[in-house]
């Protein structure tokens, strides 16, 4: 029996060996490269807000589209505002163009352009003119505005530099008030002499009306909305600018 056990151990010994003695794992290779820390500037740059581009602002848009009209009449110099409908075509009020012996347009960047042809509406306070050079920028028309909508009036009041005044639409006067054959907007934005013919812009810089007068009873500005302008352009029957003294 002892002999059998001894023989068994002799046989089993080498067989059990590999199980008992493991192959002996060699030391695992370690990662030697290191990653530098991310700089604070990188993380802050990722979180930084993109600054607003001033060129896209309503102010810049208004500045580019608004024109200054100089009417040299027989009885003096009259100033008004306008905006470009096309590269060489502008729209303003009839009374800005009336009685002119010479018409000139100044752009926001200091260029002066001569008016080569002009016409005024037979009805409504609307006039158009063509100039001998390229206007800076053509306007984009916006949708119809209603009471409470925020608006901006751009123009050259009192012959001074370009100004922007902000306000809201008071209401939309129906019928044919103020000698205009169509609805008229009343606005709270400050309007002065020289704003006539200037654009009324919505919050996205789109033209929604043309300034033409001040309501003396309330001091509200009066503006012809786009739909009325369109109607006047279609039905107004444009004619030559009345001569000095005949307007």
């Amino acid at each position: 029996m002892r002999l059998a056990l001894a023989a068994l151990l002799v046989v089993m010994g080498p067989a059990c060996g590999p199980l008992v003695s493991s192959p002996g794992p060699e030391s695992a290779p370690s990662v030697t490269a290191t990653v530098p820390p991310l700089s604070p500037g990188a993380s802050s740059a990722a979180q930084a807000a993109v600054p607003k581009i001033a060129r896209d602002s309503v102010g810049r848009e208004a500045q580019r589209v608004t024109l200054r009209v100089r009417n040299t009449a027989c009885n003096g110099i009259f100033l008004g505002s306008a905006f470009a409908l096309g590269p060489r075509l502008l729209v303003t009020n009839r009374h800005v163009l009336a009685g002119a012996s010479t018409l000139q347009v100044s752009t926001w960047d200091g260029r002066s352009l001569d008016v080569t042809a002009a016409a005024v509406g037979a009805i409504g306070d609307l006039g158009v003119a063509r100039v001998n050079g390229h206007l800076p920028e053509v306007v984009h028309f916006g949708p119809e505005v209603h009471g409470g909508d925020r608006i901006t009036v751009a123009g050259y009041p009192l012959g001074g530099p370009l100004t922007l005044t902000h306000g809201v639409v008071v209401d939309r006067v129906p019928g044919a008030p103020f000698d205009v054959p169509g609805p008229v907007l009343r606005i709270t934005a400050r309007v002065e002499h020289g704003n006539s013919g200037g654009p009324v812009l919505d919050g996205q810089g789109r033209v929604v009306a043309i300034v033409f007068a001040i309501e003396t009873a309330t001091g509200y500005g009066l503006a012809i909305p786009n739909d009325t302008v369109r109607r006047l352009a279609n039905e107004g029957g444009f004619q030559n600018v009345p001569a000095c003294g005949s307007e």
């Binding site: 493991s22 192959p23 990653v35 820390p37 009885n75």
Partner: protein, 248 residues
């Protein structure tokens, strides 16, 4: 005498000198061996039987080798050893099989460990490469962030400059427009003054003609043109008055 096993003492205290010699005496040879007998006794028994048979033929029941009872006894005596041997052999075979399986399993594990080790080395190399790449990318990102910061500062400064220039441009444009307004106004005044000067020149010329006519006694001409010359002079005076009223 009873000798239960070789080398053991009998009842009288005597020691068996040889188991084979003791088995030569009569019926004691048929006694079964104890279960714990050694293999030495098994090996010596046939020799004793043969010796006895050759010496005393025909005597004793268990003395002959060809006796069936003797073969059965031999078998009865050895079957436990055969069983133990068989079990031992079976155990050895089983354990050997287990050992072989164990060895095979160990070899498999060793191969697998070697393969895993190679895989770990490979993956570590890849990890090192990736880490190096990541370090380079992070470095580049840091540099880009620094450049972005610089560009942002420059952009802000440029934006400020552009805004200031645009404001200045608007001011200059407004001043230019104002100057042009004044120039246009002066041109208008100049035109008006030229018109008034022309009217005064006409007036003066008419008055000179009237004086010449009177001095030469041409009273008819003087009477006929007197009102027209006066009207021209009045118009010139009126326009001058309007001009002065308008422009000061």
């Amino acid at each position: 005498m009873f000798c239960p096993r070789c080398g053991a003492a009998d009842q009288s205290g005597a020691f068996c000198s040889s188991c084979g010699s003791q088995q030569t005496s009569g019926s004691e040879l048929t006694l079964p061996l104890p279960a714990v007998a050694t293999s030495v006794a098994v090996a010596t028994t046939p020799i004793a039987d043969t010796t006895v048979a050759s010496r005393t033929p025909g005597t004793g029941a268990g003395g002959a080798a060809g006796d069936p009872r003797s073969a059965r006894g031999w078998t009865r005596e050895r079957w436990p050893w055969m069983v133990v041997g068989g079990l031992g052999i079976a155990l050895m075979v089983g354990l050997g099989s287990l050992a072989w399986l164990n060895y095979q399993s160990a070899s498999d594990w060793r191969d697998r460990a070697t393969a895993r080790d190679a895989q770990i080395r490979s993956l570590t190399a890849v990890l090192n490469t990736r880490t190096t790449d990541l370090a380079q990318r992070t470095q580049a990102l840091n540099e880009a962030a620094a450049n972005l910061k610089t560009a942002e500062h420059r952009l802000n400064r440029s934006e400020g400059d552009v805004k200031a220039l645009a404001t200045r441009q608007r001011q200059l444009a407004a001043e230019k427009a104002h100057v042009e307004d004044q120039r246009a106004s002066l041109q208008s005044q100049t035109t008006d003054l030229e018109s008034i000067a022309t009217e005064y020149a006409t007036c003066s010329s008419g008055l000179n003609d009237l004086l010449t006519a009177v001095s030469q006694g041409n009273y008819t001409y003087a009477v006929n043109n007197l009102n027209a010359v006066y009207a021209g002079c009045d118009s010139a005076a009126s326009d001058l008055g309007n001009y002065q009223q308008q422009f000061g």
